[in-house]
Symmetry: C5
Subunit: 320 residues, 5 copies
């Protein structure tokens, strides 16, 4: 609980919330992690939340959004969590009333400590803005997480890019293929939680006059909005970059196949022609040189000469 | 028939509808399944429906939409039905007047019982909103069906994804190809019935003031609208995911071809070179070692040595 | 000529048009098929048409559109005609004045009889709406034609789809390729005439107040507009479906190539190894078993054994 | 110079322009081809043109646009010129004041004679609209050039299409590939000069009230606008058509490769099996029939029988 | 420092800025290159800048944007720098107050000298517009850099195009592939800094009335805006052109593979058939001509005749 912008109390039970909230000078922050149905029921009564918003918390898997109810906002955002190389977003639901902020985390993978540290690090003047200040800290943390994630993806793509053109090491096609596939899958998933953030911030900035617009917090929300747009643009360029990688890989495969075929053809010729000659000299008919020494020398010269000649000709044309 | 939000009567014939409707305190719900031309004629007269709307019911295969006529709305939506693995949407046409809701189902595959159960499960206060409440229950059920469907598709895609990278089991290319084709076809079809839902809900929320906007039902319709957007966004990410799968499969095929060619080339060389040597020793000319023991040993050593040498060289370069 | 909504006269010459038109109770419909420059000149004077609109008729190949001039509208739409399997749209230009409708068909392939039959089939009350009623009949017929066409395309795609996965009959690749090409070409052409219809109907519904908006015909035009949107949406899903077909076909080709290569490799090995053995036993050096019976049996056993062994091994790995 | 809509004087020097322009009844048209910096300097002073507009003329390579300055408009459009099969657009800059039109051509490849002939061909009444009339003539000519160009492209695509499916003549793959490449490159370039025309005409029609909107010229500009939209739509369908061609060609290549591989496999088998048999009968071991007549007949029968048998089997499966 | 549009003083320390700024007749320009945290702190106090804007400078990697704070604007743009063939954009942050312009360069790679030369080259009248004039010079330089860059890219693409169709020199597939990859990567990066410029200029032109809109500088900003649009359109056509190149290259690869396979097949046949004949004549059975002279001549004729015949047949069908 913050009072007049100053932290006053911590760790009180849900049931007391309504008491503190009654005093407009107080700003109450309440955090629930994986709450039970009952917790939510108590909360609902204490703060007068709308039934639908509470239902959304229970059912989970909402899209990032701002829902505006009488007397409170309901916001859903997703924090980034990477689980064994796979993107596993963590849902955070937020209730915003005049002087209370309730954060409901899906589970502990969303580190709320980072948010409180951010709150504490800001100097006092902004703290006077109450829930608007608290909400900003939360959103700022979430969006910075998105920014870090897209930067991380960008780095992984550059990594693959280097592998692609590294001439010293052969490419492990299977692993590369899989890495590209997984990057793209994660990007698709990330898009689902990052794109609607634009609307979330836009709604907060433009529609809800009391909370953000026209207050000293507005530039700070603008700043978060700016980061959201940066995430979006970066995401788009990342997708483009990945498509570039993917198509280049495909073209490389095609080129590689051509080269293999060229070599196959070349070596096949170098082996097949001498084989034909040995076949000729293996016939049971009295060809010139049959059974005589000069026949052997002629055949040997033919085999060696044609082999070397073909090899040189193909080498010159860059077929081998 | 509901009266002042309370269920009062069930199972009366079409002809009596106009009687009940006359009393504004009554809310009449009427359900027809695969009605005849005559049924619709009676209904049209009883409720004063517009000729064009009734024609739309008869001709069928409308797109999801809201048509606004004098004194009533005409809504078309599609329920999900999966028939032998293929998506087979079921059309449901709805007439909404001031105090009557008529649902006309294409056939029994749309389970109206689910909708009534949903109505009954809601507590009484909302029921006072009459047709608006009933319509909400129907739309909620339909959109939840869409949500389930897109979730199901998502699951099937993840399933295919696992097959794609399962290194223990060889991929049944033909079946995978077919599964991808059918998923995409179903997605295309589903899009056709799901995308216009956004407009349907949007129209109900914004334009028809008496029915939804400004009433206690508004947040509930907003909630359905939210689900519709979630379906849309999920659908988009699903399409993206499927494209990812498809292109990865294509790249795998290309990689596989390259590998097959590499191996083919390798083994061909390992067999062709000894064959050339046997050809040489099969010539009917007095080559060194012709007909003598050491000739055999030389040839045997050459054959074995070159075969093993090539094998080792190729194995080292990962060509076999 | 219709008078007060009742058909009165038929088959009078162009020159008399202005007489009939003078009486506001008359509704005149005039149909020209492939008119000469002179016919149009007379018409222009009789009805006071704008020079540019008449020029558009002469030059032909307009895009579907509504041009609004002082005292009259100029509308261009395209009827569907399929000529030897190719889409060959037929241009129909329409002049709409206060009480006259002039239809100018490019040639006889557009069956105006279908339109008059539609007019006659509607009951009398709507006929009182004069040109608005007549124009509706025409547009309704045209858009229904588009709807039929896109349905037909849909059917052809499903047909190809069945061929694609029919395992009993081999695919005639060349014919399938051509069919896909032609379907796509026709869809591109159809798009060119169907997409602008949305704007045509939209313009009629919203901008020209006297003619459609606010009259009893409005719902009927809405209905046509609805069909236009359905054509558009169906068109899009058709394009998607075709892309699905095309890409699946490509993937099948790639898979087929892989299979052919696998088998080629397998059989090549089964033949090449015994050939090597015969080569060995064909050498003119005293290998073990040279010229003796057990040498033959050993060679025969080797040849048969290795062939059968390879065949079994490849069969097990599904390489043959 | 036109006076009251009548051509009065021709071929006077730049320096006199301001004299004629002073009289509002005069309409002055001035044409410069590849002007020097000095010519433009004089012109600038005579007509009071804005420095930036003149700079744009000098620097060249502007995009098609309308710039609106105090007292004059500056318009840039591109005429079509095809140079050795490559699209080489010619820039034409236009200054429009109250009663003067200055056209500045990049070079002689833009035939201004065609524009004057168009002006002269129009009857006198429109000529009274002064610069608006002159400008229309110019834009009409330019846009008709675009229309002709896209029609020409369409024709070339249909030409390629015929080549693609002509079964009598083998396709010259290299030439086809190049033709497709060049068509697409030209389309991309053409797009760059044709797409912004929509904005140019739109700006003239809507924003600059004195010049076009509300005058008798408005329908004529609408007509040009209509052609611009037709160019755009045609361009889009052309791109689509070209993509169709390109992808079909790719699919044909894939199919062709499959066929080549099938035949290669088939013939390889037909040759390899008899070769194995001859190898068997070439062994220096007493196989049954060694050195005896019936051995020859058996081998001959085996060779011929297996060859014919394989050929028949493959032919039946359409592998050869 | 400029006073009344005239350059007066240069090279004074940050701390004095506020003094000069106090006099509204002065226009102060201040340039910082890679400033320390302290420099920015001083600057912030001197000019009363917003904390968030200064933070953006410190954190860097902003997207191009205009942020509007009380009393000053904060603008971020990117100059082009090519580092070892890779695009490496240089960030330039700009603070704009009523009579001061502060440019903060990421490092020396952005040549501010070019901007001052541009300022000095403009004649005095425009200089009277103070910061608006200075800002214009900077933006003009930046956008001209973008224009040069996209022109350079265009040139590189045309270069690759020539390589693609140069029949005299074989294509170095690997280098071409890499060049295409890198071009596309640079385009993606360039897009990220060039696309938002449209919004930057648009914001300056439309929203901030005091600075640009309604002043004599407006046409000059319009001119820069025009260049920005040209960059965008050129960028799009460049991407299209690159896609064309890429896909053509892919099709060429496919064609090349087909050709290699055709030749492989052809030569394989020419060698395999004679090999079969030598095998036949190598059998140890009394075939006709066994051990006799005419047998040799027959075999020789068969080998030579079939080889030449196959060669001629394949050559005629363009298979070799």
């Amino acid at each position: 609980m913050y009072r007049n912008g100053v932290l006053e109390k911590e760790g009180f039970p849900v049931e007391e919330v309504s008491e503190y909230v009654r005093d407009p000078d107080n700003t109450v922050w309440f955090d629930l992690c994986h709450p039970t149905q009952d917790d939510l029921g108590v909360l609902r009564e204490e703060l007068g939340l709308h039934e639908l918003a509470v239902e959304d918390v229970v059912s989970g898997h909402q899209r990032p959004k701002v829902d505006s109810y009488d007397g409170h906002l309901f916001i859903t955002v997703y924090g980034i969590h990477v689980d064994d190389g796979r993107l596993a977003p963590v849902e955070v639901d937020v209730f915003v009333t005049a002087n209370a902020l309730v954060t409901i985390r899906e589970d502990e993978r969303f580190d709320i400590g980072q948010v409180t540290r951010r709150w504490d690090a800001t100097d006092g003047t902004l703290g006077a803005n109450g829930v608007s200040f608290l909400l900003h800290g939360l959103l700022d943390y979430v969006v910075d997480g998105h920014l870090d994630y897209v930067e991380d993806i960008d780095g992984r793509i550059e990594n693959l890019e280097e592998q692609l053109f590294d001439e010293d090491r052969p490419i492990d096609g299977r692993a590369l293929q899989r890495a590209i596939y997984e990057l793209r899958r994660d990007l698709t998933r990330f898009r689902k939680i990052a794109m609607p953030m634009r609307e979330v911030l836009g709604t907060l900035l433009r529609r809800n006059q009391g909370l953000v617009a026209g207050t000293a917090m507005a530039p700070y929300y603008e700043d978060v909005y700016d980061h959201v747009i940066r995430v979006d643009e970066w995401l788009e360029s990342t997708r483009d970059q990945l498509a570039n990688l993917r198509e280049t890989r495909l073209a490389q495969q095609g080129m590689r196949l051509n080269e293999i075929m060229k070599r196959l053809t070349g070596w096949a010729a170098i082996i097949a022609v001498p084989t034909l000659i040995t076949g000729f000299y293996g016939m049971n008919v009295p060809y010139p040189g049959y059974g005589s020494g000069w026949g052997f020398w002629l055949s040997a010269v033919l085999i060696a000469g044609i082999s070397v000649g073909l090899y040189a000709a193909f080498k010159k044309r860059d077929w081998l």
